[in-house]
């Protein structure tokens, strides 16, 4: 039974004369891993920021977990988790301190917070680094900590903006295993990436170019319709066309 968690209709964002997001429509269902692909400057990050309530849409509408983001951004923030493109946790705090901080910001307290923290540290393979300074961790581990702080409060949907950029292939694969784990437990995952192989891991993907969505399918169907063997090839084909 598909239950839409994100609905976007005619969503537009302009900066002056420039149309960063041009009239896009899409829906994301509960528990889906929805991939947002596209070249640099296509409008992926802008879209995510609108959905997170960081930017106000210039036109159209979007709903996240039933809340009108344009009108009620603060309400949305309670229900979502976000991992930004650039690592943005506190490097001069320990892993544990970062989690404590963000947990309490999301309303988790004392015993609740402790337990949830433990749980995530184990699940993400971060036991033992709780006392370590975040800045001393290798990139792959930092991303895991960022993921952990995004899901502390068990949000319905989590937005990941290029979560694996700069991470080596093995750790990337591990990260996606974690993402799967999230989806299985009912969390919807909205992820942008420019690694085409990762697209294969998603339930559905949309390809964005110059502010517009030029394709929106499951990876399998996409390859079929264009007669290509990989998403990468489909991507190149579509871009050359436009």
């Amino acid at each position: 039974m598909a239950e839409p968690v994100v609905i976007a209709r005619g969503l537009t964002k302009t900066f002056g004369a420039f149309r960063a997001v041009d009239n896009i429509d899409f829906t994301v269902d509960k528990g889906e891993i929805f991939g947002f692909l596209g070249p640099n400057g296509a409008g992926k990050t802008t879209t995510i920021r609108i959905l997170c309530g960081l930017l106000r849409p210039s036109g159209g509408m979007c709903f996240v977990d039933g809340v009108d983001v344009g009108r009620n951004p603060e309400e949305v923030k309670r229900r979502i988790g976000y991992m930004s493109q650039k690592f943005s946790l506190y490097e001069d705090l320990t892993v544990g301190e970062n989690l404590d901080f963000f947990g309490s910001v999301y309303g988790l307290r004392n015993r609740d917070l402790e337990e949830r923290k433990r749980e995530l540290l184990v699940r993400l393979g971060l036991e033992g680094v709780e006392r370590q300074m975040t800045k001393s961790l290798p990139l792959g581990w930092k991303q895991k900590v960022a993921l952990a702080s995004a899901v502390l409060h068990r949000p319905k949907i989590v937005f990941l903006d290029e979560p694996t950029s700069g991470v080596d292939p093995i750790n990337r694969r591990n990260f996606w295993t974690l993402i799967h784990g999230l989806a299985v437990s009912g969390t919807t995952v909205f992820v942008t990436t420019h690694y085409m192989e990762e697209a294969e891991y998603c339930d559905r993907i949309s390809i964005m170019d110059a502010g517009r969505i030029i394709a929106l399918e499951s990876p399998g169907r996409l390859k079929e319709s264009y007669g290509k063997n990989s998403v990468d090839e489909v991507f190149v084909h579509l871009l050359l066309k436009s």
């Binding site: 997170c52 309530g53 951004p73 490097e91 001069d92 301190e97 404590d100 910001v105 307290r109």
Partner: protein, 375 residues
């Protein structure tokens, strides 16, 4: 509430882990206090004086003795001719010269009113004016026993000669040491600097490294973020203020005439302004370096127009009117009033009210600018 406490705790964790930060907060201001206390002085001491004594009499020697005794002047030479005097000035070896003419003592005792010539270089107008004042005072203490005949010549009773003397009394700072005036002002200034710069930098740093965006995505409300980021610096500012006051008391030996509690109360009100300005700057700057620059800019303005160095009643009337807009001016008046005159609420309530008004206005403006939405 809990959110605010979490933010405050996080801030303190970060502050105490950063050695550079700690140095800026505590070490630098204290060093400045120690040094500035001695440099910011308009006292005049050690002024280079060159003497041309053509009389070489008992009296002239007595005069020079008195001058040396006063410890305000440093005799750099005894010269004979006018020419050489000039070169002392040109080479900046002396800024004052005293010429005692030949026959000074004799003419004096004969009631002929000889003339002492004093040359001042005038370049440092302040020093010159004050030095002149000292010199006059020292010379006036010269004890001369005049024979009655001469007295007659000087004081003709038939004239309109009025016998009027002056009696000068000094309130509050009988030794007229300028450090009493300057030091409380310096402590006020340090409080301003620290709280403004650190608040501004603290917020801009988060923007620079990107964590501000992360915070924006969470349910943190603007007011919680603002309070969380300003409270730690307010507390640190207070601690620094108290430390500064102790230095002034114990190192410089200047004790407060008025109420410490009252001063702290006013300091708290003043903090509204400084934190507000810091907040405002954080909305203007995108890097920490910029934040420091902009803050310095504001602060220099505030400093020069606050009456800390130069008295406000000296400034041209238009400029004086502008100083009414400067919150630091009021705080400096308050701190001086409490320190030196023991002024209480009855005299200072107006200043306090204005400070409150300023602070609220600046803070509200800054909060309005500081919105969570990146639009």
């Amino acid at each position: 509430m809990n959110t605010i406490i979490s933010i405050v705790r996080k801030e303190f964790l970060q502050i105490f882990r950063d050695p550079m930060m700690l140095r800026i907060i505590f070490l630098v201001p204290l060093i400045q206090l120690f040094i500035l206390g001695y440099t910011i002085t308009l006292d005049v001491r050690n002024v280079g004086l060159v003497v041309r004594d053509e009389d070489r009499s008992e009296l002239s020697r007595q005069l020079v003795e008195k001058i040396i005794h006063s410890r305000r002047f440093r005799i750099v030479g005894y010269e004979q001719s006018q020419m050489e005097l000039k070169s002392y000035f040109e080479h900046s070896l002396a800024s004052v010269s005293l010429a005692i003419p030949r026959g000074f003592e004799e003419d004096l005792l004969n009631g002929l009113k000889p003339e002492l010539q004093v040359l001042l270089d005038g370049v440092d107008s302040n020093t010159s004016a004050v030095a002149m004042g000292y010199l006059q005072r020292i010379i006036a203490t010269l004890e001369v026993k005049l024979p009655p005949a001469s007295l007659l010549k000087l004081g003709s009773p038939a004239s309109e000669q009025l016998r009027i003397d002056s009696r000068v009394r000094v309130w509050f700072n009988p030794n007229l040491e300028s450090k009493f005036y300057i030091l409380p002002g310096i402590v006020a200034f340090l409080l301003t600097m620290t709280t403004t710069i650190l608040t501004g930098m603290g917020i801009v740093r988060e923007r620079e490294i990107g964590t501000l965006e992360q915070l924006n995505v969470t349910p943190i409300r603007s007011y919680q973020l603002i309070l969380g980021k300003t409270i730690p610096f307010a507390i640190l500012g207070f601690v620094l203020f108290l430390m500064g006051l102790s230095v002034v008391s114990f190192w410089y030996g200047i004790h407060m005439a008025g109420s410490l509690l009252l001063l702290l109360f006013f300091a708290f009100i003043f903090l509204l302004t400084t934190l507000g300005v810091g907040l405002f700057v954080s909305t203007l700057a995108s890097t920490q370096l910029e934040a420091v620059f902009i803050t310095f800019f504001f602060i220099i303005f505030a400093l020069l127009m606050s009456g800390l160095f130069a008295p406000i009643h000296n400034m041209p009337p238009i400029v004086q009117k502008i100083t009414y807009l400067n919150p630091l001016r009021y705080f400096i008046e308050i701190i001086r009033g409490i320190y030196l005159k023991g002024s209480g609420l009855e005299y200072l309530w107006k200043d306090g009210l204005i400070l409150l008004g300023c602070g609220s206005a600046i803070l509200s403006l800054s909060i309005l600018r500081f919105k969570k939405r990146v639009d």
